[in-house]
Amino acid sequence: MQTRRSVSMALAAFVMAVLPAAAHHGWSGNSPEEFELTGTVEQPVSLAGPHATMKIRAQGQLWDLTLAPPPRTQAAGLTEKAIPVGAEVKIHGHRNSDPKRFEVKTERVTWNGKTFNVYPDRD
């Protein structure tokens, strides 16, 4: 009986320890403010998981852009060859809440009059 109680208490403690951390899922590690940036493509789109990525240079910094998961990014037309290196792009999204990190969870990328919207259901 004692064993049974200690096992169930251990399981309950584990579940409680994990639940608050799960709240970080998605966008909560990023600022709620809308964020825009214009820069030049330094590393083209990569459709490797878990999230597609690209890098741009803006304001003298190299920025990591975190895009949607690969299938969704591809469906928005944003593939490896969609935008050439050196092209000037405007991006829209949410910056990492840590001001020392130059990372943007990116919803839209605009280049040459064309907008790739990888999160069409978000502002």
Partner: protein, 161 residues
């Protein structure tokens, strides 16, 4: 750790993970979860038996099916996990959950080696195990449960860091 991660990322496995289609990561991740759930589903039954639950069921009747199922689950999880990590290995440098997960897996595997080498495990067919044997097996079950729960909990959190 960074040199190893850099090597893993530039390995053939990392390259294959990045360049074999947009669904690859998701499908490999699916098999990782299937492997982990198969492993833990079997391990939790065995560990609870070692801790003293279901004493009316002979230990060999539980160890018989759970050990090979857990082993198969571990192999699937380890192979697919290597692929997931290799995809962008260097990005996980400094991820604290990685530094909890892998030592926890090491503890769990050492625990398997220790428990299965003890007379209490090797002579599990005996009808009446001594209190000392029971204690050895119970400690093994407790360490196993704690180590695997830590590994799985930390593993789940890697992507949220």
């Amino acid at each position: 750790m960074l040199p190893f991660l850099a090597w893993l990322e530039t390995s053939m496995l990392g390259h294959a993970m990045r360049s074999s289609g947009v669904w690859t990561y998701g499908v490999v991740n699916l098999f990782h979860i299937l492997g982990v759930s198969t492993l833990f589903g079997a391990v939790v039954v065995l560990d609870l038996r070692l801790l003293g639950l279901w004493r009316t069921v002979p230990l060999p009747s539980i160890a018989g099916p759970t050990v090979p199922v857990a082993t198969a689950g571990f192999i699937v999880a380890a192979l697919t996990g290597a692929g997931l990590l290799a995809t962008k290995a260097t990005e996980y440098a400094g991820n604290p959950f990685l530094l909890i997960k892998f030592p926890a897996i090491a503890v769990a595997l050492v625990n398997v080696a220790v428990v299965t080498s003890r007379p209490a495990w090797k002579q599990m067919e005996r009808p009446d195990p001594t209190p000392g044997d029971r204690r050895v097996l119970a400690i093994g079950g407790a360490v196993s449960l704690a180590a695997w729960l830590t590994a799985i909990g930390a593993g789940r959190m890697i992507g949220y860091w």
